[in-house]
Amino acid sequence: MLNKYPLWKNLLVLTAVVLGVIFSLPNIYPPDFAVQVSSENNGESVTTDALDAAVASVEEAGFDYFDPMITPDGNILIRFKTDTEQRQAKSVIQRAMFDAPGEYVVALNAAASTPEWLKDLRAEPMKYGLDLRGGVHFLMEVDTESVVTNRIDSLETDVKRKLREQKIRYKSVDSPRRGVLHVSFRDEDVRSAARSELESQYREFTFSNGDDEFPYLALTITQNAIDEMEDFAISQNLQTIRNRVNELGVAEPLVQRLGRNRIVVDLPGVQDTAEAKRILGKVATLQFRFEAKPDAPRSTTINFDYEGRDATLEKNIILRGDRVVDAQVGFDPDSGLPQVNITLDSEGGNLMHRSTRNNIGRRMGTVFIETKTRDSYEMVDGVEVRKSEPYVVKRVVSLATVQAALPRQFRITGLGAGEARELSLLLRAGALAADMYIVEERTVGASMGQENVDQGAMSVSIGLSLVLLFMLVYYRVFGLAANLGLMINLTLLVAVMSSIGATLTLPGIAGIVLTVGMAVDANVLIFSRIREELKNGLSPQSAINAGFERAFTTILDANLTTLIVAVILYSIGTGPVKGFAITLSIGILTSMFTALMCTRAIVNLMYGGRNIKSLSI
């Protein structure tokens, strides 16, 4: 029969609508003001003891808190009724966590207040972008050029030393361009002697002979080695930044590699950019020292914390972390146990060798030194003022027995897998990282974020009302069907964005507004077609059918081409453009579905299978 949907189509539409409602529902619950406590070690869960300590502190201070919990991600969330209480409670909890064992990051957060039954269905509200919640966005570039230059510099000293040791006389060593080192010799015999000496030792370089004034040997770093060094420099910087972001007390930071040599840092809620930059720019340092002999005079020793105990080391430093070129987790080929392989630069290798060859059997400690900031709270003129003061943390991260005179590359064994990983990260964090600078920064104040949300919501609702009103006046009953479709469309759009975890940004809201305006297009196409067919003398039922059928290809072509544009927009776009492209693409898909399926179902329900003389269109 004309204009009757088979049951499965009606069920499909119904299912889509129900799913749409469920998955868009979490967005109507306003988030709670919450304080989040997470472990400073990324990814580690907090203990219930920590939760108890935090709860006890707010209980004692008499705050009106509710729903304290440890989230599935392993963070503590404690919710409060007002933002004033939330801020005051943060400093109370911070003080309490400072005394508790372990290291914690305490931050303000907006906790989703999604009801349990929705959570069980994995329905989550949309995430807000920085422009809507306020915060800082940094784009940092890692100076990978200098990594290569440094490698060539250290190669130069290395090669000179090797040749001297082997009594091979060279005339000059220089780097004519990036990644290349030329060593020239008196004649070709010396050169081939040098080549056979060096070639086996520097696998990351390709060797070739050349002739200038004198015969020379060219060492060119391979692309593979460059890539590896760059990757290493980036991951090292990523790790360093992650460690420091912890100090800023950010609830949901994002630290991510972007492209070849960039790092994105998003810090929602952070307002003090100057402070953020200072902390991100800090350098941790590393020292290697021998353990003091039991009879050493007190004046030559110094105590550090080592896994909760005291370790007494010599004051004299063997070498510092800036000599560490690389540190990787590896496995002992004999025992299969984890170990950390450390590579020093040539000067570091000399120092290490000289110091260790007479001290075999003693223990060597690795000291990790970091400058952190601590917040303290003071009453000034009756107002509590936060003061940040830097303090230095020094601790021994490894204490291992020296088993031989250590060369440039050595290893630390006797570690657990977790310990080895941690140590290699710390060694790298303390090593001289490639230089990093900010190439883009965007800060949005908290008040501005809220204003953007309000204005966005306002423009969506006004735009929507205007369109709904117009459609109703212009197409009457069919307008009502289109309007129902439009509401379903919006619901589906929000549901899809929420469930795929897309981030809503200001341009994204603009995309939603635009979708509202353009989504009715498909319906308009169908309705004008129905009007035409009526005029051509078709019966109401056939006109409805013909209208939907004939408009189909047009709608498909028009939307597919727009979708192509939206996808291109997404793939080339950054930041604001991407946010717009996502909503636009999803909007095109949902509006095609609603216009072709939902509106049709509604019209069918209203007119289908009945004997009607005229249409209200």
Partner: protein, 315 residues
């Protein structure tokens, strides 16, 4: 309901002249005035602050001059309490110091005595700006190219040329408007331009679709008459859709706030121009290229008779 019977193609000469004038004026302005490139493309720093009471831009300029900043632009942003300061990279500073320019400006403004609240601060390095410019241009070209291929494949090459001509027309005139009036051209405007391409395309395809249908259906008529009929048949839909889109854009313009004003303006201009171009440019180009029934004839396969029936089987 209304019925349209307008001799669109009778005005095609006038329309062509109008379009040419607009395009030439736009290109001239783009060549002479260029665009008022926003921070996203030029690089530099931007700080938006809110003063407790109404702010005095002249005093702020003086304040910044005294602090030794060069080339700064101070303007109201939205209200008389809101101040936007834009400043190019300072030549006497290193890259690292330039990255901290925003903080320093905020600090200077806060010294002015009045309560100052930082609303937004941005810094874009010169290299990033250059990349964004290239990406934006590349994106526009990629969009135009792939759309042309799609239409040539789904319709016919002449339609593709018509549609892409209309798109170039729309993009150039929208860009021209930004150049002539001197509005800030930032990334959101690029997004708007691409949305204009999407929108205008939508319109053009609807019209083309009808032109194709009518060429196959109406047997005894000349191309001009067929195109006129098609335009009249789709005019109601074209106007209604443009109207609803403009409705929401006005809502966005009025309520959306300063930050997406550029986007809303760009789209509004684009939608108006796009509506016009789908009527006059795309169809005009089709006529100029001598579109005929033969271009749209469907190769008849065995067992199928009426091409019209094949395309839209009546159920």
């Amino acid at each position: 309901m209304k019925e349209f019977n307008i001799d669109f193609m009778g005005f095609r000469k006038i329309a062509t002249i109008c379009s040419l004038v607009l395009v030439v004026a736009s290109l001239a302005s783009l060549a002479i005035n260029q665009l008022n490139w926003g921070l996203d493309f030029t690089g530099g720093s931007l700080v938006e602050v809110e003063y407790e009471n109404s702010a005095n831009p002249n005093a702020i300029r003086l304040q910044l001059d005294e602090a030794g900043f060069q080339g700064h632009v101070v303007q109201f942003f939205g209200s008389d309490k809101d101040i936007l300061v834009r400043i190019p990279p300072q030549k006497n500073l290193t890259d690292k110091e330039n990255a901290r320019l925003g903080d320093r400006i905020t600090a200077v403004l806060k010294e002015g005595g009045q309560g100052v609240d930082l609303r937004r601060s941005e810094f874009v390095g010169p290299a990033v700006g250059e990349e964004l410019t290239n990406q934006g241009g590349l994106g526009l070209l990629a969009a135009l190219g792939s759309v042309m291929v799609y239409i040539a494949f789904r319709f016919q090459l002449k339609f593709a040329i018509g549609a892409v001509t209309a798109l170039f027309h729309d993009v150039i005139i929208t860009l021209g408007a930004f150049s002539i009036i001197g509005w800030d051209f930032d990334l959101t405007v690029v997004a708007a331009l691409l949305a204009v391409i999407g929108y205008s395309l939508n319109d053009t395809i609807v019209v083309s679709d009808r032109v194709r249908e009518n060429f196959r259906k109406i047997r005894k008529s000349n191309p001009t008459a067929i195109i006129n009929t098609s335009l009249n048949q789709t005019l109601g839909r074209t106007l209604v859709t443009s109207f609803t889109t403009l409705l929401v854009l006005v809502a966005l313009l009025v309520m959306g706030g300063e930050q997406i004003r550029g986007f809303a303006i760009g789209l509004t201009i684009g939608v108006v121009i796009g509506t016009y171009s789908s009527i006059y440019i795309a169809a005009n180009v089709l006529l100029a290229m001598g579109i005929s029934k033969e271009d749209l004839a469907i190769p008849i396969k065995e067992g199928q008779d009426d091409p019209d029936m094949m395309e839209m089987p009546d159920r």
